[in-house]
Structures are given as C-alpha cells and as structure tokens.
C-alpha cells in the first residue's frame, strides 16, 4: 500500500493480521518459542512445561447477549492456554479505563470476570489499572495474561496434524460475532443469538481424558474456522477436507449471513474449538465432547489428507468443492 497506515482490517484476524505479525512483530522479537505462533507459548522449566499467553480485549458494545468484555477477557486467555492442553494456574488483568466510565459498568464487568474465572477454576493473581482521558479509549480495554501447566505427554501444536486425523468442532459456529453485530445495532438487526463466550479448559480436559494424544487444538476466534484450518494446513503441511453438510451453524446465524453476504466460516467464536484427532480415536473424543455441556453439538466435520498440502477444500452441500482461504480484510456487508 502506497501510504502505509494501520487499517481496521489489520485487526480482523485474517490475512492482513497475519502479514502484520510476519512482517513487523516476528522480526522484532524473533525467537523459537514465538515462531510457532500458537495460541500459547510452551516454555520448558526443568521437567515441567509452562504455557504462557496474553491477549487484549476491545469490544463494542461492552455488554452483549451472552457476555461482556470481562467474560471475554477471562475466557479468551483461559482458552488460549487450554489450546495448548494446559491447566490454567493464574491470570493477570490490566485495565485501561476511559474517563467518565460509569462505575456501575466497571462493577458489572468485574462481577462477570469473577463469575467466568470461577467457571474456569482459575484465579486472577495480578493486575494493573490506568485511566485515559475521555475519547482516548472505548469505555474499557482489558489485557489479560495467563500461565498454565501442560500435563505430561500432552503435546499439541498447529504443526502436528497428520493425514487421517479427524477434524472435530465443538458446536455451532459464528454465534459470538453475530451476537455482537446485532448488539451493536448498526445494522438494525434483531434476534436472539447469544455469544458462545465460555471457558473451554473443562471440555479440553474431558477430551484429553479420552485421548491424550490429540494432535492439535485451536479456538476459531477472529478469522473464524476457515482461517484456523488454513493455518493448521500450512503449519502441518497437510491438506484438510471439510464436509459442508456436517458443519454446525445455527439457523439465525445462517439467515444473517445470507442477508449480509457473510461467509459463516469466517465468523469469530469465543467458546468453540477445533480438534485434530488421530483417526481411531475420533469417536471416543466426540463422545467425551458430547457428554460435556459445552460440546453437546460437537461434530466431525472433515479429515486430514496428504494431498494438497497447505490447502483446505470444502465439499459443498450439492457435492461440489471449493477452496477455503483465510479471511482477507474485514467482512463488509454486501450491497444487495
């Protein structure tokens, strides 16, 4: 781009975000732990392996059906740890508060963080607060970091998917992004879609109980399922084939996508995961997921193949096929 500036699309979690990391952040901080670009870095400490991650949360509006920025800040970081298979040991939380923020809003956010931390079985053990002048922030920005401990023998990573693996999602996709979109009111859409925002460490524990050698776990947040699958296909140098008819998507989410021209495979989720599971263990893992409250609608949606490394192929409902590429820029609603 001629006149280089940060665009909102750089934060959308798709190809531009990816390019920003590769072009600027990786060269600046380059090291072997960072380079894997997984949700958590796994640091060996003597015989133990410690997972470490951080994430910043900005969302408009602060409160939306199914959650708020506080719940998001706890769940997002717990989930990043969980995707490394790690049991969370503690979180930190830093707040940037905008001058003029109603104290009641802060209280409500904190109460919801407390609740989410309780659900995840984790404590907030460190924190910080800054206040910026009115207009310099959007109410509340939160940054959380988390450390966790990886169980012995559990080694997960985006590069570990192997031909034959089953691809499993833990439930219907896109609820979070559509819920926030509706709550924003910009598009005069109304509906009852609730954000799926939830801590996934319990679900992961149940899955690892059924199969400790799961190859890869990822939570499809910004950029959605398509982007996560593409990253795994690239890192693992394998092909991924997804069967559209098997991918769970709620009726209302589908309707909004049809209306706006959005592709549900690119919508953000905050309480869903994708698992790459060795062939023979898929049914056992699926069963463990389906008996957990956060995996009731889990489904096997595809498999890993040796052909077309780095590519994700979608078999469509009418039996055709197409490539699933990573999100490129923001999804903008179409005109007609």
């Amino acid at each position: 781009m001629k006149d280089k500036r940060i665009l909102l699309s750089h934060g959308a979690g798709g190809k531009l975000s990816h390019d920003l990391v590769e072009e600027f952040f990786l060269p600046a901080f380059d090291n072997d732990l960072l380079r894997s670009l997984d949700d958590s870095a796994v640091i060996p400490v003597g015989p133990a392996r410690i997972a470490f991650t951080t994430d910043s949360y900005v969302v408009k509006p602060l409160f939306f059906p199914g959650g708020d920025i506080g719940r998001l800040a706890i769940c997002g970081t717990v989930n990043d740890l969980a995707m490394a298979g790690a049991r969370p040991l503690g979180l930190s939380a830093s707040f940037i508060l905008e001058e003029g923020l109603p104290i009641g809003d802060l209280e409500q956010v904190l109460a919801s963080m407390k609740e989410a931390a309780k659900e995840a079985g984790v404590r907030v053990v460190a924190g910080d607060t800054k206040v910026v002048e009115h207009g310099a922030a959007e109410g509340i920005f939160i940054t959380t970091a988390g450390i966790g401990i990886c169980p012995e023998g559990v080694v997960l990573g985006s590069a570990h998917a192997r031909p034959g693996d089953a691809v499993i999602v833990s439930g219907p996709l896109g609820d979070h992004e559509i819920a926030v979109l509706m709550a924003r009111g910009e598009f005069s859409l109304q509906g009852e879609v609730q954000s799926d925002c939830a801590p996934l460490n319990g679900l992961v524990e149940a899955m690892l109980g059924a199969c400790p050698d799961i190859h890869c776990l990822r939570d499809p947040t910004r950029g959605g399922l398509a982007t996560v699958l593409w990253e795994i296909a690239r890192s693992s140098k394998v092909g991924v084939v997804i069967d559209e008819a098997e991918v769970p998507i709620g009726e209302q989410v589908r309707a909004v996508c049809d209306l706006l021209g959005f592709d549900p495979y690119y919508l953000a989720n905050e309480g869903k995961l994708v698992a790459f599971v060795p062939e023979g263990k898929a049914e056992a893992v699926l069963k463990a997921m389906q008996t957990h409250p956060l995996g009731g609608d889990a489904a096997i949606i595809g498999k890993v193949v040796a052909e077309n490394p780095g590519k994700v192929l979608l078999k469509t409902g009418i039996g055709g096929h197409r490539l699933l590429e990573p999100l490129s820029g923001e999804q903008f609603p179409r005109i007609c």
Binding site: K2, F187, G320
Partner: protein, 364 residues
C-alpha cells in the same frame, strides 16, 4: 419467501445435474449477470460439477465494480469536507479511487460510517443535526427503492442535513449495451433474482425478442442456479428463446409495483457511466427536481473528474465477460483483496475477488 430446504441439496442436486448432462451435448456459454450469483456459484462449487460444455461467464452485475473511480473520488472529496459524515455500504470501503479509498480516509480520521440500510443514514442525520450526513447511494434496482424511501423519509422528518450522492444504475440498459456491442459471445442469461423482484420480467423481454437469446430469472440457492441452468438448456433443446422465471417463489411477472412507484417518485432515469462499458443512456437514476436540495452533487462543490483505469487492469473487460479474472496479469500478484488495483477484486461480489477467494486452483 421460503428458502429451499438445504438438507435436501445433497439428494436433489445429482438429479438436476443428470438432467443438465443429458441436455448439454453442445457447448453453451451462459452469463450470470449478477455478482451474487457469481459468489453463490463459487461457494457451492457448481463449476466443479457442470459438464465441460456449459461455460459460465460473469457479467456486469456487481454495483461496486461498475462504479467508476471518478465517483469514488467524489465520495472521498465529500467525506473530506468540514462537518460532513459520509454513510456508505461497507462494500465500497476498500474501492480505490485515484489516490485513496474510503477505508484509508477513515484511517486518517475521516467521518465515514458503514450502514446496511439507507434509512440508518437518515436516522444518523436526525441524531446529529450539526453534521451534514451524506449517503453514498451505490446500487442497482434492488437498493434503489430503499434509497428512494430514505430520501422521502428524510423529507417527512423535515431534515435539512441529509443528502444523497447518487451512483445508482439499472441493469437492463447495460445488458442491451453489452449485446449491441457484440464483442461477447453469449448463448443465454442467468438473470438476477433480487433485481427482478423489483422490476419483474418485462424489462428483459428485448433479450429474447431483439437478440433471440433465452434468459431465466434465477434464485440464489445452489439448487436454484442448477435449475436455472437446466431451464436455459431446455429452451435450446426445444428451440425456444424466452424469458422464464425459475425464482417464482420471490419474483412476480409484474415485479413490485409499490417499489417501482417509490423509485419513480424520487428518481428519473439519467445517463450513467459504467466502468468498462462507458456512458450508457438512461442507465442511471438521478434525483427529481423537487428533491434536488438533497442532491449532494448539486449542493457540495465536488466536481466529477474522469479517472484513467490503472495500467494493466482488465476490470473493464472482465465486467463485459470478454476476459476471465485469471487472464489479467495483475490478478493475484499486484492485485489482491488486501491491496486491490481494480474494483472487481474489492467487492465481495466482484468476479476477481470470487475467483481469488474461491477459485484458485480448483475452478472448472
């Protein structure tokens, strides 16, 4: 309108494909006029299922793609004016003008808001009386009734700070221009469903009567499109050239009279410039005189200046179906959805973006 049940897709598609295969003994080049069809065809992988004899060509039916860069420049000039908030459809954010885009203007602090309904812009004007809220109205017949309704609503609410920058176009004159030009070899048209909900069947009849070609007004579900293709092949088999309606659950022969009335109350047909096709007589919509106080082009000092197409960009030929996106030397190299050169790579419904996103490596 009841959407087709998707769970039946897997069962019904092979039956339609079998019927298509039987009729597709000779080559047939079909143009899908509408960008929504282009995307639906890619998303459902229809090309990968059709016999080689059936070729699908994308047409000029993406409103963003046919908007000349000069009109984007005009919107940018408007957004740069003191006290102006520009409301626009999201699709237009990334379209490059001659030196900037609305997205880049927003990053520099320009007051630019994405809306999906023109009425949202009217609401915005009411809530911000100190600002001039200008709606950049790009679109086809599908959107024009809503834009007309918004203009009327702004008048009803007596808003003096709502303006329309009209960049609306109507489809049938562009199809006539395309056929009259004769460069593109087309054997039939998959006609746009949404546009036809508004205008009905009559405006397309010249295609059959004057150019002796078949057309089928088609819906957007994969099964709709397969059935539309089948109906076009069947017309050829039976030696008919007619305009038929596949999408009968939404489209009436006479269109939507109420929508056409509202459009007529606010707009009159006017000559319009199309990217790739040049100026086409009576292919646009301008505000009627009684609404000229809301016409941003008249109220603000934003003269129109012609912009040369970027060197090497084949968008013009792509829009006419003369070239396919991969034929362009810039495609996928200098021109990508992140950093587009031409508008067909920008819009989610543009042929180049659809080819780039869904088609690379597995197009039929």
């Amino acid at each position: 309108m009841n959407p087709l049940p998707r769970h039946d897709e897997g069962r019904l598609a092979p039956l339609l494909l079998e019927k298509i295969a039987v009729l597709a003994d000779l080559p047939m080049r079909l143009m899908e006029v509408c960008g929504t069809h282009t995307v639906a065809i890619f998303r459902s992988g229809i090309r990968s299922l059709l016999p080689d004899t059936v070729e699908l060509i994308s047409g000029p039916g993406c409103p963003v793609c046919v908007t000349p860069a000069g009109e984007i420049d005009r919107a940018i000039a408007l957004a740069r004016q003191e006290g102006v908030t520009l409301a626009t459809f999201g699709d237009l954010m990334r379209v490059p003008g001659s030196s900037s885009s609305l997205q880049q203007e927003r990053a520099r602090g320009g007051a630019i808001r994405v809306v999906i309904s023109p009425l949202d812009a009217v609401q915005m004007a009411e809530e911000n009386p100190a600002r001039a809220v200008c709606f950049f109205g790009v679109g086809f017949e599908t959107t024009s009734p809503a834009i007309a309704a918004a203009v009327k609503e702004a008048r009803r609410r007596r808003l003096s700070n709502f303006y329309l920058l009209s960049s609306q176009r109507i489809i049938p004159p562009a199809m006539r221009a395309l056929l009259a030009d004769g460069t593109v070899n087309i054997d039939g048209f998959i006609l746009p469903g949404h546009v036809s909900v508004v205008i009905g069947k009559a405006p397309y009849c010249f295609i059959a009567e004057e150019f002796s070609l078949p057309g089928v007004i088609t819906g957007f579900e994969p099964l709709d499109i397969l059935e539309g293709i089948y109906m076009l092949l069947r017309q050829r088999k039976e030696d008919r050239r007619e305009i038929e309606i596949q999408y009968s659950r939404a489209v009436k022969e006479e269109g939507n009279q109420r929508a056409l009335e509202v459009m007529g109350e606010v707009f009159v047909p006017a000559d319009a410039r199309w990217r790739g096709l040049g100026v086409i007589p009576k292919s646009g919509l301008a505000a009627r005189e009684e609404f000229c106080a809301m016409d941003a082009a008249q109220v603000f000092d934003i003269p129109y200046a012609e912009v040369e197409d970027p060197p090497g960009c084949l968008c013009g030929e792509v829009l006419q179906g003369i070239h396919r996106p991969p034929d362009c030397a810039l495609f996928g190299t200098q021109c990508t959805p992140e950093d587009p050169v031409g508008p067909c790579m920008v819009s989610s419904e543009g042929s180049c973006a659809a080819y780039y996103k869904y088609g690379r490596g597995n197009e039929g």
